[in-house]
C-alpha cells in the first residue's frame, strides 16, 4: 500500500514531465528552442519511479533524452527552460543546452551527447563513493541503442567485479532513432546480456510507475548491501519520433496505440484516484499547480538575458 502523499508526489512528477516536454515542443516550433531536442514523452514512469525510490545522496546519470530524469530528480524547471533557450540563467549558462544539463544540487551528473558514454561515468561515481566509504547508489539511465556500445558491457563488468552500488536502468523504448532493436539484437530482452557477466538482471513494465518504483527500491536496497550492480530493463515506447523533427513514421501504428493505451501518466493518475482515493478535483489542483509553475518558468526563461559574448570571450582568452 502506498500513501496518498507518495502517489501524489509521483503523479505530480509524471505530469510535470509530460507538460514540460509538450510545452517545450511548442517553444521549439516557435523557434525559441534550437538544436537537439529528444522528448521523453511516453517514458515518464521510468525516471519518476526510479528517482522516487532513490535517496537524495544517490547519484543519477542521464542521457540525450534527459529532461525527464532532471525533473524527476527535482531540478528547477525555470533553470532547465532557461538552458533550453540558451540563457545565462540556465543550468549551464546557456553553454550546454538540452543534451548537457547537469544539476549537482540533486546529484544529477548530467545528460550526454555521446550515446552510452554516461555508463562508465556512473560506475566511476559509485566507485568513488565506495572508496570514500559512503552509502550512495548510482542509477544510470540509458536506452537500448546504448546497450550496443561496448562501454555498456565493459562498465557493467567493472561494476560487477568491484561489487558497486550501481543500478543500470535500461530504458528499452525499442528504437535507436529509427532502428528497431530487433534489427540490432537477436533478443529484444536486453537484460539477458547481464546474466553472462554474473549481474542480477530482470525486466519491468516501464510504463507502470509502481512496478518501476518497487523494483528500484528493492534493487537500491541490494546495492546498499553490497549486492550490486543490478541491471533493470524497463520496457517502454516513445510517444513521438526520435527528436522533435522526426515524425516517426517507422513506428507501427498498432504498437504505438498499444503503448499509448498504457500511457504512464494515465496509469499514474489512476493509481492516485483508485489506490489513494484522491478526488478528481484534487487531481485537477495538482495539474493546475504544475501548469502554473511551468508557465512562470517559461516567462522567466523568455525574459531572462542571454549570456554576454564579451565576458565569454574574455573567459576564453584567460583559459
Amino acid at each position: 500500500m502506498y500513501s496518498k502523499e507518495t502517489l501524489t508526489k509521483m503523479y505530480r512528477t509524471l505530469y510535470a514531465i509530460r507538460t514540460f516536454e509538450t510545452r517545450c515542443i511548442k517553444l521549439y516550433r516557435q523557434g525559441l528552442i534550437r538544436g537537439y531536442f529528444h522528448p521523453y514523452l511516453g517514458e515518464e514512469a521510468i525516471a519518476t519511479g526510479v528517482c522516487a525510490a532513490l535517496e537524495e545522496r544517490d547519484y543519477i546519470v542521464s542521457t540525450h533524452r534527459g529532461h525527464g530524469h532532471c525533473i524527476a530528480r527535482g531540478a528547477e524547471i525555470k533553470k532547465m527552460l532557461a538552458e533550453l533557450l540558451g540563457k545565462a540563467a540556465g543550468y549551464c549558462n546557456g553553454r550546454g543546452g538540452s543534451m548537457h544539463i547537469a544539476d549537482f544540487s540533486t546529484n544529477n551528473l548530467g545528460a550526454n551527447g555521446i550515446v552510452g558514454a554516461g555508463i562508465p561515468l556512473g560506475v566511476g561515481a559509485a566507485l568513488g563513493a565506495k572508496i570514500r566509504g559512503e552509502d550512495r547508489v548510482a542509477a544510470i539511465f540509458f536506452s537500448d541503442g546504448a546497450a550496443n556500445n561496448g562501454v555498456f558491457a565493459e562498465a557493467m563488468n567493472l561494476a560487477a567485479i568491484w561489487d558497486l552500488a550501481v543500478i543500470l536502468v535500461l530504458e528499452n523504448n525499442h528504437y535507436a532513432v529509427s532502428t528497431p532493436i530487433e534489427q540490432v539484437s537477436r533478443s529484444a530482452d536486453l537484460y539477458k546480456r547481464g546474466l553472462g557477466y554474473g549481474v542480477e538482471s530482470f525486466a519491468v513494465d516501464g510504463n507502470d510507475i509502481l512496478e518501476v518504483y518497487q523494483k528500484t527500491a528493492a534493487a537500491a536496497a541490494k546495492c546498499r548491501d553490497g549486492k550490486g550492480p543490478i541491471l533493470m530493463e524497463a520496457k517502454t515506447y516513445r510517444h513521438t519520433g526520435h527528436h522533435v523533427n522526426d515524425p516517426g513514421q517507422y513506428m507501427p501504428k498498432e504498437t504505438l496505440d498499444y503503448y499509448k493505451s498504457k500511457d504512464p501518466v494515465k496509469i499514474g493518475r489512476n493509481y492516485l484516484l483508485k489506490e489513494a482515493k484522491a478526488s478528481p478535483e484534487e487531481v485537477k489542483r495538482i495539474e493546475a499547480a504544475v501548469e502554473q509553475e511551468l508557465e512562470e518558468a517559461v516567462q522567466f526563461a523568455v525574459d531572462s538575458p542571454a549570456p554576454s559574448v564579451e565576458e565569454f570571450l574574455l573567459e576564453v582568452e584567460n583559459a
Partner: protein, 340 residues
C-alpha cells in the same frame, strides 16, 4: 579524367545540385562500377543517412551493400577494416566527427598501419566518411573540427571538400584509393548547391584548387571556410584588395607547390581555419610556408582560427567561436596596412 578549376567550368553543364546529392551520386556510381564497394553506418540504409547522403542505395543495391549498424562504432569500423583487408571497398559513415574519437584504435592503430606492418603485403582500401564543424546550436559534442588528428597520422589520407563538384570527384577518387581515406564533410555544406556535370569525372587527391586568383594576399582555407573567404574576398575587392583563395581540397596529400607558389606571389599569407588554433592544420601549413618561402614573406603568416574552447550551445557564443566573414576581412585589411 581528373579536373582542375578550368576543366571544372568546361565540364560543368549548368546542372546545379546540392553537395549531399553530389556525394550520393558518387556513391551510387562507384557502387555500380565495383561490386566490392558497400556502405555501412547508423541509419545509412533504411533512413538514407541522417543528412540524406545515402538515400536510395538500399533500394538499388540491397541490404548486403547498404548496411544499417548498431551503435557500435568501434566494431563496425573495425569490421570495415577487416572487409577491406580481404578485398572489399567499404565506405563507413561516422555520423559526427566527434564520434570518430570512438574508432581511432581501429582507424589509427589498425587501418593506417596495416599495410606498413605487413611489409606491404596487406592493404586497407576503405573510406571513412564523417562530418564536422559548427552547425546551429549543436553544442560541444556535435560541433568539433578534428581534421588535425587525422592529419598527424601516417598512412591516412584526408579529404576536406568545399563544393559539390569537388565533393563528388574527390569521393570517387577516395573510394578508388588503395589506402584508407578520411573524408570530412561539413554539416553546413550539405545543402549548398553548385554546378556538377552530368558525365562522370574524378578529382585527383592532392591537387589544390585556386578558387579565386588574386595578387595582394593569399587566403588558404578548406571546407566551410572557403565560402566565407570567397565572400570576404569580394568585399575586399571593393576596397581594392585583391585576394587569392587557395583550397587544398585534400590535406593529405597536401599540394604544397600550389600553396608555396601563391605565397611567393603575394608575399602575404592568411590561413583561415574553423578548428581551434592550437595544434591545428593551419599551424603546420604556416610552418611549411615559412620554411619554403621565408625570403618572400613581407609579414608573418597570419592564422585566423576557432577560439580555444569547446563549442557553446548559445548561438551568439557559438558564432563568436569560429571565424566569420567579418573576421577575415578585418584580418586581411590590417595585414595589408601592416605591409604598406
Amino acid at each position: 579524367m581528373t579536373a582542375n578549376t578550368k576543366t571544372e567550368l568546361a565540364a560543368a553543364t549548368g546542372r546545379n545540385i546540392m553537395l549531399r546529392q553530389a556525394l550520393n551520386e558518387a556513391l551510387a556510381e562507384e557502387m555500380r562500377l565495383d561490386p566490392k564497394v558497400f556502405v555501412m553506418g547508423l541509419g545509412v540504409a533504411e533512413r538514407g543517412g541522417s543528412y540524406k547522403v545515402t538515400v536510395g542505395l538500399l533500394d538499388e543495391f540491397g541490404p548486403l551493400r547498404a548496411i544499417d549498424t548498431p551503435i557500435s562504432e568501434p566494431s563496425f569500423t573495425g569490421a570495415a577494416v577487416g572487409a577491406a583487408i580481404t578485398g572489399m571497398r567499404p565506405v563507413v559513415e561516422i555520423l559526427f566527427v566527434d564520434f570518430s574519437l570512438l574508432v581511432l584504435d581501429q582507424l589509427v592503430n589498425q587501418a593506417a598501419k596495416f599495410k606498413f606492418m605487413t611489409g606491404g603485403a596487406g592493404s586497407v582500401p576503405m573510406v571513412l566518411r564523417t562530418q564536422g564543424g559548427v552547425g546551429n546550436g549543436l553544442a560541444a559534442q556535435h560541433s568539433q573540427s578534428l581534421e588535425a588528428i587525422f592529419y598527424h597520422i601516417p598512412g591516412l589520407k584526408l579529404v576536406v571538400p568545399s563544393t559539390p563538384y569537388d565533393a563528388k570527384g574527390l569521393l570517387k577518387s577516395a573510394i578508388r584509393s588503395d589506402e584508407p581515406v578520411v573524408f570530412m564533410e561539413h554539416k553546413l555544406l550539405y545543402m549548398v548547391e553548385g554546378e556538377v556535370p552530368a558525365e562522370q569525372y574524378l578529382v585527383e587527391l592532392g591537387k589544390a584548387d585556386v578558387k579565386r586568383s588574386g595578387s595582394d594576399v593569399t587566403l588558404i582555407a578548406w571546407s566551410n571556410m572557403i565560402p566565407r573567404c570567397l565572400a570576404a574576398a569580394e568585399k575586399l575587392a571593393d576596397e581594392g584588395i585583391d585576394a587569392e583563395v587557395v583550397d587544398p581540397r585534400t590535406l593529405v596529400p597536401l599540394d604544397k607547390d600550389t600553396i608555396i607558389e601563391s605565397a611567393k606571389k603575394t608575399g602575404n599569407v592568411v590561413i583561415v581555419q574553423e578548428a581551434v588554433r592550437r595544434g591545428g592544420v593551419a599551424s603546420d601549413i604556416a610552418s611549411i610556408i615559412q620554411q619554403e618561402a621565408f625570403d618572400y614573406l613581407d609579414a608573418p603568416i597570419k592564422i585566423i582560427a576557432g577560439k580555444n574552447t569547446p563549442i557553446p550551445f548559445n548561438l551568439e557564443l557559438e558564432k563568436a567561436c569560429v571565424p566569420q566573414e567579418s573576421d577575415i576581412i578585418l584580418a586581411v585589411r590590417s595585414r595589408v596596412h601592416d605591409k604598406g
